[in-house]
Subunit: 356 residues, 2 copies
């Protein structure tokens, strides 16, 4: 059944090749982590993340793993075919955050090295966000510095909570200090709701038969939106005023919630903060269109946040490149804004070289 | 500090007295329940709801309790002053749902009787939604029938979860059967996240100093939005196709999430449902503007849901009537749509007599 009005966009669209398209939430994996995920997928681990691990990694040679592992064959061919100039790559969710700290740090380093090698072979087609292990904040800060200064990566990927803890927790401040000092953004990617908020997401059905309730349909946004709102209302951005955060999925519902966040969570009621929540959101956050190909939501977000605060993304290989291009090409917004969403904002935020 | 652009609307506005204004999420309490809430507010009860009970009921003679108890003096005077024709009254959150079943049913009956008496004295100024105790679904169904058929109430008020259980739970189906048979909507009002999703909302600060994170700023929408999404993705509206649900606060973020709900939680991936989530949302839900005085969010919601699916609300006495009127009067939408949002949609949904 097709998406119903008013949620549809054209099936066919003549691609406009004057746009430089930089996709900003594009996933990959290294075989070592895919193997760990495969083993975890065969346990009765109680985290909600288990359903996704089972779907994607139970078959270690299945199409999902293959498309995540591939960087230079099928992926580049699809980019060529769909007119995607560049993918900003990041290690896929839940990344290293479900591993014990030492192993997590090792896998993060390994993944970052591989990522840098791939980028070195295709410097105009790929850029990368570095993995890090927040379980060990001091080691994470060290790896973050290495990733930017030595490997040339452009920012960082975090998959929401770590053992039920969120970035406003003082424990993680070394990570935030490193990101701010390196002037490199942290992309907070979703994972499923933490154990402490998991109960309403545990349905009888389980897994994909429930319509991805606990993950992509709703749980991801609840988890990641709650993470971001915690950070904003805690006053963290007064302590780290230059910290840059990226949220996918059209901002995890926060753009729509800004008025109420200001009214109910803002100054003067909230004594932690000096600015209104919406002011932090516009100053410290950039959102991407990953997995939300809705023209109305795009226009609303641009209107609320401004044309410098939205970036295009595909969410490859979880989403297809073609529809993501059609969605953006056919969006009823000015070409100048489209250029910013497709490339300009990513070039500025991630310090990418402008296209030829 | 005033709300910042683009979130502001005019401070002063000449009220347009041609509009009939029906406010649809307006709270009251009966003294018997206020006294129970006062006693609970002095415990160390672990539910997140406790912060609100402490703020509102610790002082049993404070202004909040006074304004909730008052129906015919200060309230009617404010309605006259601000041009509000009618309030659709409902027993305030968390209502009877935190009481043991027998007491909850007794208080619901008592509150419904009092509500009907008040409406009988002011039939053009008040209508009412009936309380019920979902803890005892059979008794609830009986009271729902009495409330509509004998007392003339126009629908029902539910404060999201009951003991961590949601309306898609078969346990509550007698309640849904009653509502559908009576052709009367259930307004799902927020309460704080249930214990099973409370952990990320337990901050060190607690209470109002954290900017109402766990309640009005964010937690309410997480709890109530999750409730509604559970219902939609479960297939409940195939079983109860005529069931009408009302959500406040501009739809608890769901309008903004509809595209992704369809893509990730819809047909054919979700085998529970026969329609797309957005189709159920447009068929079975109506949203209200309570506590979200944001013109952009209003326009977006009307665009996504249609002009028949949005109703005006103040959230009196938690919000002031004047700004809610100014917000709606000054909204850049056609007068014909404004008439529907202000009155027409409520008249149809709640079967109210059209105004003179």
């Amino acid at each position: 059944m097709p998406l119903q009005e008013p949620l549809a966009y054209p099936d066919k669209w003549e691609k406009d090749m004057t746009f430089r398209r930089i996709a900003t939430e594009e996933a990959f994996i290294v075989p070592e982590l895919a193997e760990l995920f495969h083993h975890i997928s065969r346990t009765n681990w109680s985290s909600l993340d288990i359903a996704i691990l089972r779907i994607n990694y139970r078959d270690p040679t299945g199409p999902r793993v293959r498309r995540l592992l591939d960087l230079e064959e099928e992926r580049l061919a699809e980019m060529d075919r769909e007119g995607v100039a560049m993918q900003v790559l990041s290690l896929t969710s839940p990344g290293v955050q479900i591993l014990e700290p030492g192993l997590a740090t090792d896998i993060a380093r390994l993944a970052n090295d591989r990522l840098a090698e791939t980028i070195a072979r295709h410097p105009t087609r790929f850029a990368g966000l570095a993995a890090f292990a927040p379980q060990d904040p001091a080691a994470a800060a060290k790896e973050m510095e290495r990733a930017v200064r030595t490997l040339g990566l452009k920012g960082f990927i975090l998959n929401s909570h770590t053992d039920g803890r969120y970035l406003d927790d003082e424990f993680f401040w070394p990570v935030l200090e490193a990101a701010e000092a390196l002037d490199a953004p942290i992309y907070i990617h979703p994972r499923c709701p933490s154990d402490g908020m998991a109960a309403p997401f545990r349905l009888k059905e389980g897994g994909i038969e429930n319509g991805n309730f606990e993950n992509a349909a709703w749980g991801f946004a609840v988890e990641t939106g709650t993470h971001a709102v915690r950070m904003i209302l805690s006053g963290l951005f007064d302590r780290f005023p230059k910290l840059k955060i990226v949220l996918g999925h059209m901002g995890e519902n926060i753009p729509f919630a800004l008025w109420r966040l200001d009214r109910m969570g803002g100054v003067p009621r909230n004594r932690n903060i000096s600015l209104q929540p919406s002011a932090y959101f516009k100053r410290n956050f950039t959102i991407t269109t990953s997995g939300v190909e809705c023209h109305k939501a795009l226009a609303f977000s641009l209107d609320m946040l401004g044309e410098d605060n939205v970036m295009w993304a595909i969410d490859y290989p979880y989403q297809e490149s073609g529809p993501a291009v059609t969605f953006m090409d056919s969006a009823p917004i000015a070409d100048a804004v489209k250029h910013k969403v497709y490339a300009g904002n990513a070039e500025r935020l991630f310090k990418l070289s402008p296209g030829a």
